[in-house]
Each structure stands twice: as C-alpha cells, then as structure tokens.
C-alpha cells in the first residue's frame, strides 16, 4: 500500500515537472508554430468563423424577447405580426450595422490610411482565447494574405494589437488589453511619453505607466502610439485618460485609459501589411478624430459614447 502510494506520487511529480517544462517551452513569444498546430488552426478557422457569425445573430435573438415583453396583452395575431416585423427589422439592423462597419473601414482605408502611409488588409475575427486571463483573438487571414509576425492590427477608431502567431490561413493577435502587451505611447497634448499596458480581464481598460512627474496630465487627454521602438507606427490613437495617480515607487505617475476600440466586441479588423510614403504629406488636420484635429466636437467625449454612436459624425453614425 505504502509502495503503491509512493509510486503514484513519483508519477505525479514527473507529470507536473514535464508539464511545467512544456509550459516554459511553449510560453508566449516563441517564434514559429509547429506544422501540426498550423494544420489544426487552418482546419478550424472556417468553423470558428461560422460560429462567431452565429453568435452575432444569436445576440440579437436573445435580446429580442425583452423588446416585446410589454406587448403581453395583445392578441396572438398581432404578436405574430410584431414578431415577424421585429425579425425583419433585426435583420435589417444587422445588415445596416454591417454596412456601416464596412463603410467606415472603407473610409478609413481610402481616407486615413493613405495619409498615414499604411497599406492595409481587412480580416474577420473568428475566435478568442478560451480563458479569462489573456486577450488574444484569431483572425481569418494568414501568411497566404501577406500577414507576418508583429504586424500591427487596428481599425478606424484606433489601435487593437499586434500579430503574435501566424499560419497559412489564420493569425493570432495579442490585444493591447492583454497584460503581456506593452505599447510605447505619448499623450498627444503635452507630448508626454509613457508605456501603455493591458490590465488582466478588465472590461476595456489600459494603464499608462512611467509618466514623468510634473508632466501636465489630465482627464480626457488623448493617448497615441509614440513610434519609439519598431513595432507600432507613430500616431495611432489608443484611448483617452480617465484618472491619474502616483506610482508606488513615487518616481512616476500612471494613468487609467479607456481605449477607443472596444476589443470585446470586435468583428472586423485591419492589419498594416506595408507602408509607403504618406499621400499629400501628413495632413493630420484633415483626418477625423481621434486620428487628427477634425471633428473636434467629439474630443471631449468618452470613447464608449463615440463607439455607441450617441452623436452623428465621421467616427460612428
């Protein structure tokens, strides 16, 4: 009995050590994906895409009963008619929303991107990390579409993340909200530098650290990529400062940031696959907010309200 237990403990110990070694070997940042992983990811990408599509439709379906709960006293025929009309409206809303998203993407691709000198390709989000610790999404384009490691992912509202793994037909994107993400950034108004980090599982919050003490930092100021280092080009909007505080070391300040992009509700993204000389110079003034000085009426508003389209404008109608 005693010998049997000892054997089990030894076996468990070996298993744990083996798994810990495997964890270290496969930890984030390793270069390359094994052929088996690559084949599996490519195989499942279309199925994941279908499921995500279904999810968007189901979300509308689940919310539907709440919209008709007040119609309980109406007769059966009217209910049926209302349900049918609601169904059509929902479909219309879905198509309209998709049309708006694609229109914005097109505007971005033909408006902002050439001015900034970006060459872009669009991709759909087909999956997410199964756990709650990290912020990683899978997209339905890979090396066959010109995607490479460390390429920058964004949309018309701002920065989303960078590619950390790529196969023939899929790629994984490390979101800026992931705690392993770090983006060199600066505050647009005072050109104050800092580092923007993700906060684990936070519903859309970032933290900007290492802000020099004495720098004028306040609520509502816009944070953009600084271009320091080689990964993220300069000038991509990240978010807006919510609060500031002194770091524990006492040497720097830090700030909580609300990102412009709602990374929890992404459906389509764009990847910078190349760059060229900016068209007509860098006409920042003609770009829509938060990319440039245009639509200054949106400047004081929160990214969430811009995303929700509370006010018509170039960003969201």
């Amino acid at each position: 009995m005693y010998r049997n237990n000892t054997k089990k403990v030894i076996l468990l110990g070996v298993l744990v050590i083996f798994m810990l070694t495997l964890m270290s070997y496969t930890k984030f940042g390793r270069v390359g994906v094994s052929p088996m992983e690559s084949a599996l990811k490519d195989l499942f990408a279309p199925v994941q895409g279908l499921a995500m599509n279904l999810g968007h439709r189901l979300r509308g379906l689940v919310s539907f009963p709440f919209t008709v709960v007040n119609a309980a006293d109406e007769n059966q025929l009217m209910k049926k008619k209302i349900a049918e009309l609601e169904g059509r409206l929902r479909q219309y809303e879905e198509v309209r929303a998709e049309n708006e998203r694609l229109k914005k993407s097109l505007e971005f691709k033909t408006g902002v991107a050439p001015v900034m000198g970006y060459e872009l390709t669009g991709a759909a989000v087909v999956g997410r990390d199964p756990g709650n610790w990290f912020g990683v999404i899978s997209i339905n384009k890979g090396t066959k579409d010109g995607l490479k490691l460390n390429q920058v992912v964004l949309n018309d509202l701002g920065l989303i993340g960078r590619i950390t793994s790529v196969t023939g037909n899929t790629a994984e994107v490390l979101l800026i909200t992931d705690p392993r993400s770090g983006v060199a950034a600066l505050i647009q108004q005072g050109r104050t530098p800092g580092m923007v980090e993700g906060v684990a599982s936070s519903p859309g919050r970032l933290k900007m650290v290492h802000i020099p003490i004495g720098a004028e930092v306040g609520r509502g100021q816009v944070v953009v990529t600084s271009g320091f280092g080689s990964l993220f080009p300069k000038g991509i909007p990240i978010g807006r400062i919510l609060t500031t505080e002194r770091e524990a070391s006492g040497l720097f300040n830090s700030a909580m940031i609300e990102p412009y992009v709602d990374v929890n509700r992404l459906e389509e993204v764009m990847v910078i696959i190349g760059s060229r000389a900016p068209k007509d110079g860098n006409k920042v003034a003609v770009l829509p907010f938060p990319w440039g000085e245009g639509n200054a009426d949106l400047r004081g508003r929160s990214p969430a309200s811009i995303r929700a389209g509370e006010q018509s404008g170039v960003v969201v109608r």
Partner: protein, 167 residues
C-alpha cells in the same frame, strides 16, 4: 462510449468558449464551461477520474490557443481532483451544493493558473488577478453551472454517461 462522449462534450464546451461565449461576457469574463463539465464529472465519479478528465480537458484548452501548454492541464487536473474528494460526502441532488463546488473549483483552478503564470514570467498584480479575473470568473461560472447540472446528472444516472465501470 462514455469516454468518447465526455471528450465530445469537452470539445463542444471548448468550442463555445472560444467563440459564442464571448458575446455573453460580463465584467470582462466569460463562464468556464470546460471547468463546469470537469467539476460535474469529478463530483459524480470521484477524484481519480476527476483528475484524469480534468487533465485531458485542460490539455485540449491549452492546445486550442497553442501557448503555455500545460497551464490549464495542471489547474483543471487539480480542480477535478479536489472536487472528486467530495464524491461520497455530499448530497448530489442539491443545486446549491453544486454551485458552491463549482465556485470553489473555479477559484482553485484560477488561483493555480495565477501561480503557474508567475512561474513563466507573466506578472499580474494580485489585486487585479483576484478582483478582475478570479472572483468574477468563479462567480459567473457558478451561476451558470445549475443550467447544465440536471441534464448531466440524469445522463450520468441512467443516460448516455451511465456505466458501471469508471474510466
């Protein structure tokens, strides 16, 4: 047959976790369906099978994203083992008991995840880990668990998951 059905259930749960569950995330977290199945199975079948199924389920979850392979395998194995210890000690018809068990197993699995992550250089502040991930995740998962327990329990007693022998 039972083993294959369990594997199919786990893969289906994982598939939902990677895709559809993102649309019902609350406080930035989504329920852990895979952990729910591991906990149910361990509660009804004991610690040995609980640990084995937990290990397999965790391995599938690790392979789904391709990094830190072993992270979920170890944490779900531990969760399955711990829940399995209660197999012959608790009343199995109570929804409240299963909710508490799932909450505890999720808490334990996430806590172990946190410790293991620090071992591979992923540092998250303890406060953020506890209040942004561990507690919301355990609570959401425990609230969702009763929706599936009845079906799983009946299937285990006299349905497709019923067999005399253990895996």
């Amino acid at each position: 047959m039972r083993f294959y059905l369990l594997v199919a259930l786990i893969l289906a749960a994982l598939f939902f976790q990677v895709t559809l569950l993102n649309f019902i995330s609350l406080w930035g977290v989504k329920p852990e369906l895979v952990l729910i199945i591991v906990s149910f199975n361990a509660f009804l079948r004991g610690s040995r099978e609980g640990a084995l199924v937990g290990f397999l389920a965790g391995l599938f979850a690790d392979l789904a994203m391709g990094s830190y392979i072993g992270l979920n395998a170890l944490s779900l194995m531990a969760a399955g083992y711990l829940v399995g210890l209660t197999e012959s000690k608790l009343y199995k018809d109570s929804v409240l008991i299963i909710m508490v068990l799932v909450w505890l197993s999720s808490f334990a699995a996430q806590l172990l995840n946190y410790i293991l992550l620090t071992m591979v250089d992923v540092y998250i502040s303890p406060g953020v880990a506890l209040f942004n991930v561990i507690l919301p995740s355990a609570t959401y998962t425990a609230l969702v668990a009763p929706l599936f327990y009845g079906s799983f329990y009946r299937s285990n007693q006299k349905g497709w998951l019923y067999v005399d022998s253990k895996i």
